[in-house]
Subunit: 209 residues, 2 copies
DNA sequence: ACCAATTTCAAACAACTGTTTTAAATGTAT
DNA sequence: ATACATTTAAAACAGTTGTTTGAAATTGGT
C-alpha cells in the first residue's frame, strides 16, 4: 500500500506542477514537497526525472488513446460512407470527458501536458510522442479523409496540428489570455465560453477551401 | 564601438538560443559562450537576465508593431467601408517580411519568441506583453470587426489568439512536427508549403459561423 | 517473533544557476 | 602624458539542480 501510495502521490503532485510551470521549471523538490514525500523517492520509484515525466504522460495516454481509437472506429463502422466532420469531432467528446474520472481538471491538464511535450521537447519526449502517437495519428488522418475526401493527406495532417495548436496555446496561455481578455472587455471568460468559441472555429478551419 | 558590439553580440546569441531552447532553459553561460563574451558582460550591459529577455523582445516589437499598425491604418483608410478580411491579413505581409532585414530566420524567430513569451510567462513577461501589446490588440480587434461586423468583440479576440496559437505551435514544434510528417508521408515539407497550408486555414477560421 | 526484502529518510554529491566583486585593460578627453 | 571614465576579465558568491549514499524504519512471509 505505502509503495503504490508514494508513487501515486508523486505522480499527482508532478502532474499539476508540470502543467502549471512546465517540465523543466518544476524541480523534484517542488514535487516531493507538494507530495509530502522524500526527495530520494522520485529516483527510487521512477529512476530519473525523465522517466517521471514519461510516467505522468503515460497515465493519460494509456487511458485516453485506446478510448479515442475505439470511439472513432465505432463511429466509422456505424456511419460507413456517411461519416462526417461532425462525427469526427463528436468522437472526441466521450474519451475526453472520461478523463475527468482522474480529477476534475484532468481534461485541461492533459491538453496542457501534450502542448508542453511538443514545445519543451528536448529529444526524449519527441521520441515518446512519435511512438505512442503513430497509429492514433494514422487513424485520425483516415477518419478526416473519410469525411473530406477532397483534401490531401498532408493538408489534413497540418490542419489537425493547427487545431491542436489553437487548443494547446489557449490552454497553456490560459492565465495570460484571460488577463488580457479581462482588461479589454470587462466580462470574464469561463472554460465553457472558450469551448463554445473554439468548436465552430476548428470546424471551419478543417472545412476550409 | 566595442560597447555596442558586445551588447549586440549578446542580443544576437541570446535571441537564437531563446528561440531554440526557451528562456529558462538558456543559461547566461550558453549565451556568453556563443557570443564570445565574458559572463559578467550580461549583467554589466543589461542588469539582469530578465532585462536581457525583454531587450531581445524589444528589438522585434519596436521594429514590428509600429509597422503593422501603420500598415493596418493605411489599409483601413484606403478601403474605408470596403475593408475585408483579405485586406486584414494582407496588412501583415509587409511588416513580417521587413523583419528579414535583421536576419534570414527573423520572422520565424519572432513568432517563436512571442509564443514562448506567452507560455513560459512568469509574471514579468506577462506584464510586458499587456503593456506593449495593448493598443495593437485594440487596432487588430477594430480592423477585424470592420471586415466582419456580425462578430462580437470577444469572439474576434479569441479567434485572433486561436490563430496565433496555430502559428506559434507550428513554429515552436517545427522540428518535431516535420519529423512526424516525414515519417508519415515521405515528402518533406518546406516553410513555404506550411504557409500555403496555413493561410486558407486561418482565413476559414476567422470566417466561421 | 523472526528474518529478509522493501521502502523511507537525512545528508551529502558534483554540477550548474544568476549575480557580484575586484582588478586589469581599454578608451577618451585635456 | 596625465587623469578620468568605460569596458572587460577571472574568480568567487550563495543558491538550486538532479542524483547517490548509507543507515534507519517499515513491511510481508514463514
Amino acid at each position: 500500500m505505502s509503495q503504490v501510495s508514494t508513487k501515486q502521490k508523486i505522480l499527482n503532485a508532478a502532474e499539476i506542477l508540470f502543467a502549471k510551470h512546465g517540465f523543466d521549471n518544476t524541480s523534484l523538490r517542488m514535487i516531493t514537497t507538494d507530495a509530502d514525500v522524500n526527495v530520494a523517492a522520485v529516483n527510487y520509484h521512477f529512476g530519473s526525472k525523465k522517466e517521471l515525466i514519461q510516467a505522468v504522460l503515460d497515465r493519460y495516454f494509456t487511458l485516453f488513446v485506446p478510448k479515442l481509437m475505439l470511439s472513432l472506429k465505432a463511429s466509422l463502422a456505424d456511419k460507413e460512407d456517411a461519416f462526417t466532420l461532425t462525427d469526427f469531432y463528436s468522437a472526441f467528446i466521450q474519451p475526453l470527458l472520461s478523463l475527468s474520472g482522474i480529477h476534475s481538471k484532468a481534461t485541461a491538464t492533459f491538453m496542457i501536458l501534450v502542448g508542453r511535450g511538443y514545445s519543451e521537447t528536448q529529444g526524449h519526449l519527441r521520441r515518446y510522442f512519435t511512438t505512442h502517437y503513430g497509429e492514433l495519428l494514422s487513424l485520425l488522418l483516415d477518419s478526416v479523409l473519410k469525411a473530406k475526401p477532397e483534401l490531401t493527406r498532408a493538408t489534413v495532417f497540418w490542419r489537425l496540428h493547427f487545431a491542436l495548436g489553437s487548443v494547446v496555446f489557449t490552454m497553456t496561455s490560459n492565465t495570460a489570455l484571460r488577463e488580457i481578455a479581462l482588461a479589454d472587455f470587462d466580462k470574464s471568460t469561463s472554460i465553457e465560453d472558450l469551448i463554445y468559441e473554439l468548436v465552430p472555429y476548428l470546424a471551419a478551419g478543417m472545412n476550409a477551401e
